[in-house]
Symmetry: D2
Subunit: 305 residues, 4 copies
């Protein structure tokens, strides 16, 4: 299994009655299928997995399997707090046809989750999983960080094939790339550091921003692949500017709003996640508009709004 | 509803097959019933609620209602990430007969949980709940903190009657007590700061340490009630010394081990939570032994080990 | 040497030309001499020592020695970054007649200042000092924290007789009091936690708030000494309310402004420290006014403004 | 003034009697003059400026002016806590012939140093300075961070021409480069992020690591200039590996030890900074040795040890 390129960390749209809208989810996915995205992460943090019931989680996973184009790689987000339940969810994802799972760190009892505890957890999950897994470190949400030594220790497990590092510290990407075998996949989960992470050796990105601007994210990846660093750097500055509004206002609400603006089905997040206020929407529109100008995306967005 | 005194934040024992041991849970509770504890928190953080299935959560709640002595006040831990599910769980606790719920802050999407979002969440829960609720702030686990201004804003809601603050900062207790009406219950969730919190106006404590040393915690509370501050201070020093080992080794595993030592059914926590190593056990025994000397607890503990 | 009670951490007034105003400094001190304060800290953090030249520092020290009433205990702030210069300053304070020095942690190269490095530094200073020293931990300013184990290790040095802990964590006071011999002086440097710190065994406080409200701080100390905890607790709430404005607006500028309001010579801090804006001044007046009502202090303050 | 390339943040050697060894300092500088370094920072954080007397500081500045080769650009570290003293030191550096100063943030009273206060401080310094200044943000040491909005606000001042950002967050470099005019110099102060920072648009680096491995740092800079990113990335991994030991053991002591190993005059830092223990020295030697192999540097190092 060889993974590279840009993956969208898909959002989960909700229907007016508050339930998951699989129809909107599938519509989005069919449009993403026409882009250069390498694949998708389904029911990850951006997919509001922490706010979904088990049945909803499974319905979204099944919908993605049903709709996604053949060439696209699908990841399932299966990491929850308990080791046993993480294993159960990973097995369920495998049964649904997922080729790999992305397993975020357990985090609630964080003072107990020392490196050796995290390593033992991941080894148990990987031992029991029928499909290969990616580690997933997102300290901004979890307060738990996987550092290069833990990643290197886990990279020797045959069923652990990569890490999604969303910490936003390029230095960590540098350290991880230096510490793992060359066939271990280090991918970045933070749009703010996409270009520098690719430059220092990350294989790709799994990004919420790719829900809004899939082609721009792919373009940046391609520029680096072609060693056109100066252009990549300039594109990063543009993406960075837009992404900052997401970080400032809460990423899921902003991504969903920007998806609406781009012609996708974003909608509002589930409570307690807030939706954007009017002033925030205006700022978000101004931040994203320049990146949508003159593209099919913009036309679709204009038609919808 | 007038709440004061010391409450045990109950652990959830597990059977050898990994399932919840309701038998051990009830046995513990029957012994606690003979102490001076004012009541119990069932399925809170110390109860490994984050590692329980919905069905397990409900079975523990039902068991406590069935067994607890009439005079003891029971709190249900009902806070989860989603507002809707928190409401559902709080309603379920009410239906089971719980007089009040303790609702921890949502936390996974912490960059989005600004004070106004947390206030809106708690108001929605309190509006929908058939029973009064306590706020619950435990930043060491959640990365989300309720500060005095938010607490004061929420204290005006007729169905929000108190807060369990486990932050361990006495200054916050001082600020909260100063900011809320006199009938709002500020209780402390951190054994490390039990005495000073009571001294500055907290009404009681909801403590994991009370699982191991219920009578000692009650004694400290009584000393403060009797204005015997010098003795209370000295007892705090002893409790503090023992509690530090819990903080150092991971509180749940240590509390459960010390419960075994004290003659309760502690056992080991659910994975990924680690159990204590041999060296840690030895340190824990030495830390807790002096507090158990010459008490019925010690005898029971000795008999068991 | 037996130290107890409340000490004012004196501010350093500046003249209109920007130089130190020793006249104003002495005028303040003569008024403090009539209060129940146990003594003074001269040229500590509140005295803007980090903004004074060596000559200014020495002039302030000399002025305090000249003016302070015989019964008052004087501490000199002598801690700077370099061990050698800290020793030189401590010797200079001793030569001027100071009975003790308060030595803050070095802090600029904080990643290097592991506990053993801090212990070695303090031992060198204590070995060389002709007068006993207090440790001083103020992590809010320095990013360096002295924890109970380090303090306990240093408490065995015959020339280290106490610690001023300004961290604001009562739990640390509890731990330090438990870890040191009974003749080692643990004093608190944070008005926010004065009462609970005294309640758990601190011997006194060295406080910027005592520059503004010396009698109130002394009153709180006396209440605890008389075991009148309920009254002490209520007074703490009042002091806390006022002190919060200091923390919000920058403590030195606010303390100096409130000193003006109380009839002392506060004035403005040295750049880059900001002075209060008009809106902040109004909030500070409202916060402090109730604590000055009906006292000689208020009259003096009214006369000046 | 157009600045680019790699600058060494020079250490300050001490003589056996504890005083500054200007002879060793000059010897080092003469060797650096033969490298591809663009210039030097004299008496910055790495130069132990926080541990030097005013007279020592000036002597080091004068020595560098005396010795440095004509083509090398010299920066003076002039930032201290007080605005007035920072101005005085900057004027003194100008009088000595320095073409520019690097001014670190004030930091001791950090709760007061809000962005507007920092902006006002830097404007006052820049207004009064006869030479252009660089901002300098090093939050690991100061606890104060300059973010892109402050930098952008200050970039409009005609006498503020750049920033040295040592925070180690590449995302900040990205944001700063995006926020400032194209003639404003963003340089990086952290060897851990040299390559990615250059890749995203930093103009150069001011690095302690360049004291030990000047040619390697210059080589990395040149590779990026030549768009040879893959080679640059690999070299970064090597440098990163060595630099990590510096971060782990305290950078100044390790840099000085590695300088000795490389044939420069490193020596030991001034107290309270610790020197390396034997085990640390062994690890440092193993970390740096591969980077010195086969170079004139190694030969010199071998000759000395």
């Amino acid at each position: 299994m060889k993974i590279a390129g840009v993956f969208a960390a898909l959002t989960t749209p909700f229907a007016p009655d508050g339930g998951v809208s699989l129809a909107d989810f599938k519509t989005n996915l069919r449009r993403y299928d026409k882009t250069g995205l390498a694949g998708y992460l389904v029911a990850g943090s951006t997919g509001e997995s922490a706010l979904l019931s088990d049945a909803e989680w499974e319905s979204v996973l099944a919908a993605a399997i049903e709709v996604a184009a053949p060439g696209k790689i699908l990841f399932a987000g299966t990491g929850v707090e308990s080791t046993a339940e993480t294993i159960a969810k990973t097995k369920r994802a495998a049964a649904l046809g997922y080729p790999a799972a992305i397993v975020k760190t357990p985090h609630f009892y964080k003072p107990s989750y020392k490196p050796d505890v995290l390593i033992a957890h991941y080894r148990r999950v990987a031992d029991a999983s029928p499909i290969p897994i990616f580690l997933y470190s997102v300290p901004q949400l979890t307060g738990v960080t996987l550092e290069a030594p833990e990643v290197a220790a886990l990279a020797s497990h045959p069923n652990i094939i990569g890490i999604k590092d969303s910490s936003g510290h390029v230095q960590r990407i540098v350290e991880m790339v230096a510490a793992v075998p060359s066939d271990f996949h280090v991918v970045v989960g933070s749009a703010s550091t996409l270009y520098p992470s690719l430059a220092v050796g990350a294989r790709g990105g799994v990004l919420a921003l790719a829900d809004v601007l899939p082609e721009k994210c792919v373009e940046l990846y391609d520029l680096v692949s072609q060693n056109r660093h100066e252009e990549a750097r300039k594109l990063q500055l543009l993406l960075q500017h837009a992404w900052k509004t997401c970080l400032a206002f809460g990423s899921i609400g902003t991504v969903k709003y920007a998806m609406d603006f781009a012609g996708y089905h974003g909608g509002i997040p589930r409570l307690p996640l807030p939706e954007l206020g009017e002033a925030q929407k205006e700022i978000a529109r101004q931040a994203f508009a320049p990146l949508m100008a003159g593209t099919p995306i913009q036309t679709a967005g204009a038609a919808r709004s």
